[in-house]
Structure formats: C-alpha cells, structure tokens
C-alpha cells in the first residue's frame, strides 16, 4: 500500500472536520485566528462553517479543511499480539502444566477510582461481551478487592494470598490520575520486594498497549478488552515469567 489521505467524498480530497474553542470573542478576528491555527495544523483552504460565541471570552469553531499530511498504514508500527489467543480449556491446561497449581490473581481499582464495572468485567464469572471472566477458569483463583483500594492494601493481600498476578484498573484519567495511581501500585510492590515475582497488569479505557513500558507494567489493556484475551495472556506470561513456572 502507499500514502493515503482522509476521504471526504472523493479519493484523496483529504477532508477533515475539526471543532475547538478559542479564548477569543466571536469576531472576524476570532474567525481569522481559527483559520490561521488550522493552517498551522497543515490544513489547506480551511473553512469556518460555524462560529459560536460562548460568553464574551470564548468561542466555539467548527472547521473543515483538507489536510496536506499523508500516512502510509503499512509503515505505522502496530504491536502484534505476542501471545496466542488460546481457549479457556487451553488456558487451564497451560496453567496446570506450568504451575502445577492454581494461578492466583489479585484485582483492584486503586487510588480514588470507584469504577469497578471494568475490573468486574474482566474478573467476574459474568464477564463481558460474551466472554466469561477469570473466575470462570478453575485453574485461576480470583481475589477481587473492589474499589478505592490503597497500594498498601494491595501489597498486603498479595503477600497473604501469595498472588501470581496483580490486575489494576483505572478509569478516571483527568489530570493523568490513571498514570499516577498505576505507578503508585508498582512502587509499593517494588518497595515490598514483590514486583519481580509477579505478573503486573493494568487496564482502563484510556490506556494503550505501548504505555506498559513507561508505567513499569508487564502489560496494559485498553478500551473494550475481552476477558479471554487477559486469561490467554496470563497463561502465556505464567509460562514465561513466573519463577514457579521456570522452576526456581
């Protein structure tokens, strides 16, 4: 494939819709400022189709323009899934064979986040989008700590249950709360010398896979994750990462 551009109603017309607010009044000057800004973004012949004053100091602009940028989809870096999407029975088998015991998973929404639906979707028997959650796997033991759990509480539970994996959920992202809180959990586990013997997994609607590294997590999952993916990953990671599995 080659360089492509957005498609409005003809191939390569490059047409894009934008909307944004500027801290200016709804005036000809404001309109020109919006157009200039669009040009800086690389839009040719931008059109302000709507200018809506929100009080004297802010104005909403709706703009259409033809972007001068192009992209080659074949050249974008897509991290392919590096683990096989095996079926539930397979997951159970792999865990049994590698660990010779149940895999213990501790899950929690940390920080001030009380959004449990996402974590429950992954953990609970009920599951999500037709998949059962981890509780459904007899080779996985799930400890769901629920919402607003502190890093310390997680560390203690991890020790008590001698957990193999920790699943942390973060839904609230304002002011990067999700980044902050995920890191706090990792640090607490490190401080307790637990980090390295664990599979550490994060998740939430605003995470994308590539963030794992910066967070110091083994893996993070984003919007629309299916429980089966997570189960398959854990089984795979169990064979790869766990001391128990690699026989230490």
């Amino acid at each position: 494939m080659t360089e492509i551009r957005p498609y409005g109603d003809a191939t390569d017309d490059g047409l894009v819709q934008l909307s944004f607010t500027l801290p200016v009044g709804a005036s000809e000057r404001g309109r020109q400022a919006a157009l200039e800004l669009a040009k800086k973004m690389g839009f040719a012949r931008p059109q302000v189709v709507h200018m809506d004053g929100m009080g004297p100091d802010y104005t909403l602009f709706i703009v259409y323009g033809s972007t001068t940028h192009t992209i080659d989809p074949d050249l974008v870096e897509v991290r392919e899934r590096d683990f096989p999407l095996i079926s539930p029975p397979e997951v159970n088998r792999v865990i049994r064979e590698s660990l010779k015991r149940q895999l213990v998973v501790v899950g929690a929404c940390t920080g001030t986040d009380a959004h449990t639906v996402g974590l429950d979707a992954i953990l609970s028997m009920k599951g999500f989008a037709g998949d059962h959650g981890l509780e459904y796997f007899h080779e996985i033991r799930v400890v769901n700590m629920g919402a607003q759990v502190t890093p310390q509480e997680i560390v203690e539970t991890v020790k008590q249950e001698s957990a193999d994996a920790v699943l942390v959920s973060q839904v609230v992202t304002q002011r990067d709360a999700h980044i902050l809180h995920l890191k706090e959990v990792r640090e607490a586990l490190e401080a307790a010398g637990q980090r390295d013997r664990l599979i550490l997994v994060g998740g939430g609607p605003r995470f994308s896979p590539e963030q794992a590294a910066e967070l110091g997590y083994d893996r993070v999952f984003g919007r629309g994750t299916r429980p089966s993916e997570v189960a398959a990953y854990l089984a795979w990671a169990a064979t790869k990462r766990l001391p128990a599995a690699v026989g230490l």
Binding site: Y7, D9, A10, V49, H50, D52, I62, Y64
Partner: protein, 532 residues
C-alpha cells in the same frame, strides 16, 4: 435494528374535517381539468424525442456531454421541414420503411441530412402507420415489462421494510457514485437517489454515455442509469433486500428521462407538476404537457413518483406556507390520477422545515406530518429532512435530523430522505451518510412502536394546528379554482415565486397538435391505463 421496525400508518389520530377534505379534492379536479385538456391537445419536442427513443433511436453526434443526441437531431430536421404538429413518428417510420429498414441507420441518415423526412401519402402512409402502431405496441410492452421485472426481482431478493431510508449520492462521477451507493446500501439505505448535475434540467437534450464530470451531481444518462441499476441489483442480492434507484424525471427532458427510467428499471422518479416552473423557470405550458406524458410512462412502468412540495419550504416560510404544500399535493394527486398513477405510486413530498427557533417547532411539525398522513392514507409519502435551517453547527444539525426522523417514525411516513449533518455546508461526505443511517436506525429502532401508540388531546394544539392548515388549503384551492392555475402561478401563489404563462424556458418546444397528429405510443399508453 431494521428487523424490529413494525411499520404502521397511524390514522384517525386527528379528527380531520371530511367535508373540507372532499371539497379540496373536488377543487383540485376542477383546477386540473384545463391542464389535462392542454396535455391532450399539445405535444412537445421532448415528448416526440421520447417516442423516438422508445422506437429504438439512440446515440449521439459528436462527443462528450455536449454531443447532440440523434433523437434531438431527428426532431430538429422534422420540425424544420414538416413541423411537429403531426408528430415525428409517421415521417420517421416512413423513412425507415422506404429506406434501408434499419432504425438507427435511418435516424443517423436523417441527422446527417442524407435522408429528408417527408409526410407520406396513400399506401406509404398506411405502411408507416401500421409500422408505427406495431412498434408502439412493442415499446409500451417494454415499459409494462419494467413493472413485471421489478416485481420478480423483489420476489427473488426480498422486499425492504418500511420506512424506506432514502439516501443521495452526488459526487458528479458515476464511478465514485457506485461504491458510495453500495456502501450506503450495506449500511441500511433502501433507496438511492443519484442527484443530477446542476443545470442538466435546463438543457434540452439528454447527455449520452457514462459521465464523470458534474457539478454537485451526476448527469442523468441512460448508461449511468444502467450502471447504477446493475450495481444496486448486485448489492441487493448480497443483502437480500431490493435496493430502489431514483432519479429525476424533471426539467426540459422530463418525458425522455421517464422512458429511460422505465427501460432501465428505475423504481422511483422525482416528478412534480410544478417544480420545473417554480424552481427552474421552465415554461408552465411546457411543464404541464410534459408531466402528463412522463406520468403515463411512470404509471405503466410501476414507478413511484416523488413530488417536490418540500422545495416550497426552502424559499417560503414553513408555517405560513404549510397549506401551500398540502394544496400542491392535492393538485399533484389529481394530475397523477389523470395520468393513470395508482395511489400507491404517489410519493407525495413534504418536509420538516420549520425554524427551530419557533416555539413548539416539533409539535407543529408533528401536526403537519400527521395531517398529511391522514389526508393521503394510501400514498407512500416522501418526507424530507430539514435543509433551510441547517447551519454549520453539525451537532445541532444532527439533532434536528434526529427529531425529523422521530416525527417521521411516529406519523408513519413511508419514504424517509435522510438528512445530512453537513447540509449547511457541503454535499454529503461518505461519513455524513453513514452517520445519517446510524441516526435513522437508532430513532426508527427506538420509536417505531410509538406510531401505533401515540394519541393527541382532542381539541389540543396539534389537532387545532392541523385543521387550521387544512382550512387554509381549502381556501387557497378555492382561490386558484376561481382564477385558474396559470393566473395562480403568475400571482406567485406557490413558493412565493412569480412566473408568467409565456415566460421561462422551453415554450419553443411546445406544439399544438394538428388534427392529423399521430403518436401511437401516447395513444396506447392512454388506452392501457384507461385514461382520457
């Protein structure tokens, strides 16, 4: 979502004044009579060209969209030498009979002036006449066959559920139109309309072949019709749902385009008794004569016509002019009836065009839509989305379209032309159409059931508004009845637009029929349809 729509036409929701209704229909008949008479006693160059096309005359002289079609050349020659008062068919078949016998060749020969058309006498005349009738019979059979073909195609792939979601493609390039139309069908469109290039309505010939250059629309050519029909049949099979194709039998070539539509099995045609007059400044006599012939073709071909009352509200105020829409519908209904169209072929148009700033806008639209539903219980109404008050605020615009869909759903409108959130700025993007379908699927899926459920307070605002519109319509038709249709248009009573009897384009193509006028095609159409 679609599968869950249970389409009903809610009736008896408003206590409509049956006598007023009755009177409106009588007035419409009275107003239409002279127009029907006009059509019976006149022909136009486009009607004659249409008759030639049905005889198999086709092709062009020259190339590109400016190339002149052979039918036009033949007419020009006949007009120049014999005049059109007696029609083109006798001289043409005479030329064929007395010449090579080949239709296309003869037509080309006349076009290139190798053969001079003449009016035959005696035996020669009889030969031409017999041939003309034989060919006319075949032609009319092909038209009727379209209806049959459609029936079996629907039986084969399956009928689309109502309401039919109607989407427009308008790239100007038939080869861009096709994938966009197919994508739309896959996303739920039931009807595809290929909008014509601006200006086609004013050219007095039909461009030829596949076209790729049009302004805000694609030229209506027989080849473009064929290509799109084929593409939609394919996708229809894939979807197990017959996808309808629509174009415009409108403008100076109304009759010819109607025949092309019949031949290529189009399913619906924009076809209004006044649109050309008001919105294209086409001469009124020309229009009333052409629309009659084109409607007979549509009638026999089983084509549903879509009338253009919605357009009135793009220039006039949707509240003040609400009754003019209704009045025009009664006239379109009458002129459709007298051309042999069945009620189920009358896609009367109206629109959701009240200024959103007007208090109770939604309530008023509901009243208008319900009234029209009750006035025309058997017509597959065509409901048009907001356009006039669509601005660059695409979010609010998307919501207006949603409220339009809702009113359409609860009042059981049959054909829903989907509004575009970008109506205020540009012709639809691929994604605009996609979002429009998501909008419609949500609203119809979520509210279809309300059509059977909803009632209005007797004597309430909805009912009061409805009867007011009906009464204003009755009074308007009375006035039109008194002064006559021509005077009414000259007085700007429709869409605030003034047109004169002899003004506008195309009057030169209007010809009073001579006693000797002979057009077996027209004759047979009237016979088959049992109309005068």
């Amino acid at each position: 979502m679609k599968a869950d729509r249970r389409f009903v036409r809610p009736l008896g929701r408003l206590r409509v004044d049956e006598d007023a209704l009755e009177e409106c229909r009588e007035l419409a008949a009275q107003i239409a009579a002279p127009l029907e008479e006009l059509a019976r006693t006149h022909t136009t160059n486009s009607i004659e060209r249409a008759s030639l096309r049905l005889a198999g005359v086709d092709g062009v002289e020259g190339s590109g969209t400016e190339a002149i079609p052979i039918p036009n050349r033949v007419i020009e020659e006949v007009a120049a030498i014999l005049g059109l008062e007696r029609g083109v068919l006798i001289p043409f078949w005479n030329a064929v009979e007395s010449g090579t016998g080949d239709v296309i060749a003869t037509a080309k020969a006349i076009a290139s002036r190798e053969v001079l058309p003449s009016w035959p006498e005696g035996a020669q005349f009889d030969a031409a006449l017999t041939r003309a009738w034989r060919e006319a019979a075949l032609a009319v059979d092909t038209i009727a066959a379209a209806a049959e073909k459609r029936r079996s195609a629907i039986a084969a792939v399956g009928e689309a559920e109502k309401p039919w979601l109607y989407l427009i493609v308008a790239t100007g390039n038939i080869y861009e139109d096709i994938p966009q139309a197919q994508a739309a069908a896959r996303n739920g469109a039931d009807v595809i309309a290929v909008i014509r290039s601006t200006g086609q309505s004013l050219i007095d010939y039909v461009p030829y072949g596949p076209t790729t250059e049009g302004f805000a629309g694609t030229f209506a050519t027989q080849e473009n019709f064929r290509l799109m029909r084929q593409a939609l049949d394919e996708v229809g099979e894939e979807l197990g749902r017959y996808i309808r194709l629509t174009n415009y039998a409108s403008g100076l070539c109304m009759p010819e385009i109607a025949t092309m539509a019949a031949t290529e099995r189009l399913d619906m045609m924009l076809n209004d008794c006044m649109y050309g007059i008001i919105f294209r400044d086409i001469n009124m006599q020309r229009t009333f004569i052409d629309q009659h012939f084109s409607r007979m073709v549509h009638a026999l071909a089983g084509i549903v016509i879509n009338t253009g009352e919605d357009n009135y509200l793009t220039t006039a105020n949707a509240i003040d002019a609400a009754h003019t829409v209704l009045a025009s519908q009664f006239l379109n209904e009458r002129l459709a009836f007298s051309a042999g169209l069945k009620p189920e072929q009358m896609g009367l148009g109206h629109a959701f065009e009240i200024d959103p700033e007007v208090p109770d806008q939604i309530l008023l639209e509901l009243a208008h839509a319900q009234l029209i539903r009750e006035c025309f219980p058997d017509a597959p109404l065509k409901y048009m989305p907001p356009t006039k008050h669509m601005t660059g605020n695409i979010f609010l615009g998307f919501l207006y379209d949603g409220m339009f869909n809702l009113v359409g759903a609860v009042t059981g409108q049959d054909i829903i032309l989907l509004g575009m959130l970008t109506e205020g700025s540009h012709t639809p993007f691929l994604s605009d159409r996609h979002l429009a379908l998501e909008n419609a699927n949500y609203v119809f899926g979520g509210a279809a059931g309300l059509a059977g459920e909803m009632r209005f307070e007797p004597g309430g605002q909805v009912e009061r508004r409805a009867s007011q519109v009906l009464e204003e319509c009755r009074q308007m038709l009375q006035k039109v009845g008194d002064i006559g249709m021509f005077e009414a248009i000259e007085a700007g009573m429709f869409a605030d637009t003034v047109r004169t009897r002899d003004g506008g384009k195309g009057l030169d193509g209007v010809v009073r029929r001579d006693a000797a006028y002979c057009n077996p095609v027209a004759e047979l159409l009237t016979q088959r349809l049992g109309v005068a």
